[in-house]
Symmetry: C2
Subunit: 415 residues, 2 copies
């Protein structure tokens, strides 16, 4: 809330590193042009990052006749970041170098009966251990672990206040994880993780106002407003999935009716399909992934039912996205998460058409709707980005005071 000049510095530091990661190698001149900062400021920030070993000088580039430009690039071996995506049925963990390239990956299945916090924490610890050994990284080089858990999260205390899938209530997740993981930990939810991923590395890069729509089993929106993530007063902004789209419509697991999620979430799409063709061969009982994949194949094969289902889904989704466009007036709306990826371009085109029908002309004219360009799991990437932000936060501060609490047990080696 309280703005200080230090926030400016932090934001600029983010901006510069973001730019370097995006365009590596690059020169100080380019950075200054891209960020709008003065050369002097860029130089000091680059100096800081060099001191941190997050970037390195990698040679020179010819200039127009004068002294050559020094080039800096991400120091990929300068450290590792780990992103953890805890979802209803799985735990994905990815280990990244500082260029945010995936060095190792691990996945654990969360079986329906094993959803107690201890089980999940066990999976996370195992997978984190696995990626570290896979990548052959020394523990000391891991700068942090970002953890995404669905639902409402208090990132200050590290408590999962409420996770809808498993009916968790006020689980001190970060404390539990700290007992098994010795790296600095950062907790947030997948909505914000994927938003940050798009902001740093995806379609929202350089945009001040963006909405990242997450289409998975659950549905939600990550909000980038005024250049930063909007969290709301209790860090639960973006719960778009439980916004009413059809008053008195389909019943939702949240207890309400007509929520967006019941029309465009994975289960909602299955309902759309069932309504159109109750006995469809595309339906795979309760297996969401299989059904959505079958649907995608059906569209590719010009199956009329599949096409109609996507069209119908896009009708709902388009109306919902148009609402977001009208409300937020963003520069860009990014469709992310596995359902969006599976249905891909056909969904996108249908959605764009529906958005054009529903949104007001002025905000519509300022907005583009795109698919997430991030090739890997955006939530893992975003979670790792939280860790990166955390590592950047404390730079240059005299006393190591952190605004974001970080749990770590640095006395013992990683589990």
């Amino acid at each position: 809330m309280k703005r200080t000049s230090r926030d400016i510095r932090t934001a600029n530091r983010y901006e510069v590193l973001r730019q370097i990661i995006a365009e590596s190698p690059t020169s100080r001149q380019e950075l200054a042009a891209a960020t709008g900062l003065s050369l002097a400021t860029v130089a000091t920030l680059v100096g800081e990052l060099l001191d941190l070993r997050m970037i390195t000088e990698v040679g020179f580039e010819d200039s127009a006749g004068g002294r050559p430009r020094g080039l800096v690039a991400v120091n990929t071996s300068g450290g590792a970041l780990i992103g953890v995506d805890i979802a209803e049925t799985y735990v994905h963990v990815e280990l990244f170098d500082l260029g945010l390239n995936v060095l190792a990956r691990a996945e654990e299945e969360v079986r329906p009966g094993e959803s107690l916090p201890e089980h999940v924490v066990g999976h996370v610890a195992a997978a984190v251990g696995s990626v570290v050994t896979q990548a052959g990284i020394e523990g000391a080089r891991v700068l942090g672990v970002g953890v995404s858990v669905p639902g409402q999260v208090d990132r200050a205390t590290g408590i999962s206040e409420y996770a809808p899938n498993w009916d968790w209530h006020d689980v001190p997740l970060l404390d539990l994880l700290t007992e098994h993981i010795a790296y600095p930990l950062y907790l947030d939810n997948p909505l914000r993780a994927s938003a940050v991923a798009e902001l740093w590395f995806g379609a929202a890069r350089g945009r001040g106002n963006a909405v990242v729509v997450n289409l998975g089993t659950g549905v939600g929106a990550g909000l980038v407003l005024g250049g930063g993530l909007h969290r709301g007063v209790s860090n639960s902004a973006g719960e778009w999935g439980h916004t009413t789209m059809v008053l008195d419509g389909r019943p939702c697991r949240c207890g309400n009716h007509g929520c967006v999620e019941t029309y465009v979430g994975a289960r909602g799409i299955m309902l759309n399909l069932r309504e159109l063709d109750p006995g469809s061969a595309l339906l795979h009982a309760e297996d969401q992934t299989a059904t959505i994949d079958a649907l995608a194949r059906g569209v590719a094969a010009d199956d009329p039912v599949a096409r109609r289902v996507v069209h119908e889904t896009a009708r709902y989704l388009g109306a919902g996205v148009a609402d977001l466009v009208n409300l937020f007036n963003p520069e860009i709306v990014v469709l992310s998460s596995w359902v969006a990826r599976a249905l891909g371009e056909p969904l996108l085109h249908a959605v764009r058409e529906a958005v054009t029908r529903h949104a007001l002309p002025r905000p519509l004219a300022a907005t583009q709707v795109v698919l997430s360009p991030i090739p890997t799991d955006p939530v893992c990437l975003g979670a790792a980005t939280f860790a990166l932000e955390g590592a950047l936060q404390t730079v240059g501060q005299k006393n190591g005071k952190r605004t974001t609490p970080v749990r770590s047990r640095t006395t013992t080696p990683p589990s």
Copy 2:
């Protein structure tokens, strides 16, 4: 977008003046406690405001045994601010002293046939002239005129890009007004005006995240996010009225179906009434104000139809407000504009109940829903506040560069 340390200063200046206006007279000590700034900073800011003659020293207050606290208060005669509320059927103009007390008021009727920009500009000029003479203020003391016009507005160029009521397109409203009004002019739309009014003087004071819901003929939301007004990328954020609440529902003037406005705007409420009791005596043909007032009286008199209409309206409105709560996670939702005022407490209670049913528990717990406490026209007040902000913006800057363009023709006296 680009943050500079000057923004911090400006924000602090706003904060201090806001506090003085709210609690006048007050001491530097109180200001420091209220704003969280150091005494030194408060002292310099107070010094600036004293130099500007916006506040004055008004005596002393006993301290606990030591030197008495100097008290400062708004210098009500230090200048005047004018707020202009242009709406579909009227032009309201109010002149305020620096304590934002109304000194004079004028109203012009905009008849259906007279909606050309020249007509409206004429009304504005006449009303502005009227309040200045009424108040007996010398022209030089008018610090600025804020103008609110419905629809999409480009505040940088002063162009009314689109006004739905009159089908205006790209009307250079500020240029037209400049020809008749010699004071600095500031243009924006009523959504943002009422939001700023709540932020400075109303229910959103001191809140970092608030949503101001405007219920009038048109419907929209002013968004206060992260301590400031959210404008979106083309200054058209907050168009909540044309958000879909019932897919394929009632037709809306925007061309879509099921927009929030068609259920909770004045016309929508009339439809709600008509659906319940087509021949109701409460219906006053096309007169929105009369019908809404009749409805309010009906509720007060325990008329069952009136009560059911309000209940039904609150059902829609509650669902819509719950959507805003889920999306933005605000501290407070303020119901503003004339329909909200007319229907008052009965509507509020019904809405609260409906919001409680629809919103997710976590964001709901952090949010309160209230009626606007502003006794006068919030749009006029907000528009005047834009002028006040404008007057504060340039303080202390070496060269009078303004970030917000201001049109004024100071060579000639006011019309």
